[in-house]
Subunit: 490 residues, 2 copies
Amino acid sequence: MSSLSANNIFSPLEPESFTDESKTVIDFIADYYRNIETYPVQGNVKPGYLSAQLPKTAPYCSESLEEILKDVTDSILPGLTHWQSPNFFAYFQANASTAGFLGEMLCSGLNVVGFNWISSPAATELESIVMDWMGKMLKLPSSFLFCGTGGGVLHGSTCEAVVCTLATARDKALEKLGVCEYITKLVVYASDQTHFTFQKAAKLVGIPSSNFRALTTSVSTEFSLSPEKVRAAIEDDIKSGLVPLYLCATVGTTGSGAVDPLQELGEIAREYKLWFHIDAAYAGSACVCPEFRHYLDGVELADSISMNAHKWFLTNMDCCCLWIKQPKLLVDSLSIHSEIMRNSATESNTVIDYKDWQIALSRRFKALKLWIVIRKHGLANLMHHIRSDIEMAKRFEALVREDKRFEMMATRRFALVCFRLKPKREDEGSELNGKLIDAVNSSGKAFMSHTVLSGVYVIRCAIGSTLTEDRHVNELWKLIQEKAQFLLLE
Amino acid sequence: MSSLSANNIFSPLEPESFTDESKTVIDFIADYYRNIETYPVQGNVKPGYLSAQLPKTAPYCSESLEEILKDVTDSILPGLTHWQSPNFFAYFQANASTAGFLGEMLCSGLNVVGFNWISSPAATELESIVMDWMGKMLKLPSSFLFCGTGGGVLHGSTCEAVVCTLATARDKALEKLGVCEYITKLVVYASDQTHFTFQKAAKLVGIPSSNFRALTTSVSTEFSLSPEKVRAAIEDDIKSGLVPLYLCATVGTTGSGAVDPLQELGEIAREYKLWFHIDAAYAGSACVCPEFRHYLDGVELADSISMNAHKWFLTNMDCCCLWIKQPKLLVDSLSIHSEIMRNSATESNTVIDYKDWQIALSRRFKALKLWIVIRKHGLANLMHHIRSDIEMAKRFEALVREDKRFEMMATRRFALVCFRLKPKREDEGSELNGKLIDAVNSSGKAFMSHTVLSGVYVIRCAIGSTLTEDRHVNELWKLIQEKAQFLLLE
């Protein structure tokens, strides 16, 4: 058995075989990148395909890496949707990089669990340092940084960041109200374009679904949240005896890349004493470029802001940055006394225990990954990366505009283009464009997704996979035109 | 700049440099394992040490991997608590393995985001298959498996698993009660030895802290949760007009490795219609061995059970297995309609969309890691791994018992030994043993942690780091004796 060394002692972390086998997997992954364009972007498999290929129970004896990698090649790769393919244009990209991968390897290799300072001081301290780095790159006010009066933490996802800040806002409100039953009176506000995980997070922390306001957006405000609507909804709720709690604004909505007006929304939040969170999951990355930074104007009015480095910042999954103005409030809500965690560093009040800034106790050393991504690229290359994606999206937009059979469906701000094939009759638009997406996706040559904006079915082309180059965008457009031509002839 | 290739195109995921640089990091990590015993187990650094060594802002230009690795060596490694050290005996181990690392590499390299079936069918299907494998290894009833009527999912942490099942139980109860204000009447039950994240999870989902029952345990029940106390607490709460909701039992408590009586607790939960969750985070792994499986007797009465493969199952962070009897209930609570997620596979009702089984939308392909861990070791080696750790703990226990200056403080069931240096006077026990731990830990030669059982300060020696061998246990004991001798002479 390969896991038993020569002297028959089971040694699952022996440095020689660790090195050999790890390098085999490195070569495997490099080959995958080399050949990635040969796979259909979306795996052409049927539900249940894999259970027909794999045993129903675990093996009793060890299997070799060769056998396992053969199964990855034969059974796993054909069933993947290849997010790293240069022809992946769906959802938002999850752009990997060598730097992100190196960071993941170190994180996984060191495998420390930095739940509090003492359990790995470097893990905590590097996270604080890198969160300040990232915050400064985004020109966040110092009220969000450790070098000022706030601080940042790495979560796995925006939903987690929202759960934690919502629970904090909730606990603060209930403490002030003094009646825990009032949890059912708390109301949260967002737009119908806000990511659906916000509603999920609100439900998770016990806000009744009936107290979730998804305010309608329209083409007239470019699908951004209208401050007037927010104010009216708050006033209505107050009149009904409800308690406005939390307002979530988005910089770069999932549907169309819309940007909510932070300044005006922030002023309303301040006026009515709501927690104001900014979800910059997607477009936050772009704000490291001076020419896009204005999308964050008004951030100084927020209580918290999050962005996903794992979307567009060359950081392999997962890595969500959350900054908060008053970390003490977060800690008040999320810390629970535990004897086993007691230690003199914590009691000295001079250290951060990140377990009290997140849901779980356990945490990976993700800061290492973001730190390496930033250092290995440098701000200059990271800006170049954002700009080149946006340039490709601009070119794609121009191609759409040039072809009169198509139309743009939302203002393009970043690297997401929302368009559709013009239907002959409006009520055919949804079916026609659904068919167009299906035709593109089932070709295996590209993968896109859709949304609905003000009731209209829209194709989303999100540009930004790490390996995407001009030629892929050209090929995509040719493919779309070809499939559209076929549909229009039907 | 190293990230720019010869023709001056920025290519952050270019296969040749990916291969070279990744292999450099592999060698770095292998060297770390080779030299791991030369580091003090707990980094000897002071709060704030790292900010004095690193720049306050991100670099504008890219830096080389060599520079970065030099900083890891000079600044990060000295500030780590080395969880992979064979002399790490604190908390519970997070045991890494080559297999777990290979799985992490593939997960990070493929970097797919399998939030629903369509977004990477293989990711979803492999997870379902491996959850059934793992469930069968634990001899879970088929009511928890996909091949039966239940199913499993990989979370990042127990806290997440508990948040999701608690929210599900809460929503089901509130729907039945028909009054959302009754959220403040819901009560959850556990013991004072239940992991503190259970209380945190309850708080997160909106259960008032006053409705959290941490029932006292004592040495008479070996620190396990007494069914009589649970029944009495439930009866009391019902009399007070409260609504018992959820009971959490533990197999292998963090404090002392105690096992709650599942059968009797499960019967009470069934009688009063509480959700019954089993937290087998630590000792679940041991239950793959036939001789320890009896600790799970009664699991058939549970609604959900979780265990952390990242603790004692050679799976690098993070990997928490959650099985649930009625996945539909989980999905009812955690799914939110989103147009962007709509697809025909989901609408056919023949696939699993794991986004509705967890908090976040995003998810890593963790199943690959657990699958490789199981295949590369095989059940035989995994059992051997558990047994050899338990054998070492038995030997350590024997050493404690042989030395009359020490005493065992709880029954040892798995690989956790709770003991203390006998104080001359009972009221000196806490200080004496605190000093003993400090002396051991500050030597840098080993790292242990403590707990308090029924008011008594106890030293925990958790054996199970992957690299720990008999000689390390012998050295630890010698070190403890030496430090104790010194303290007793003071």
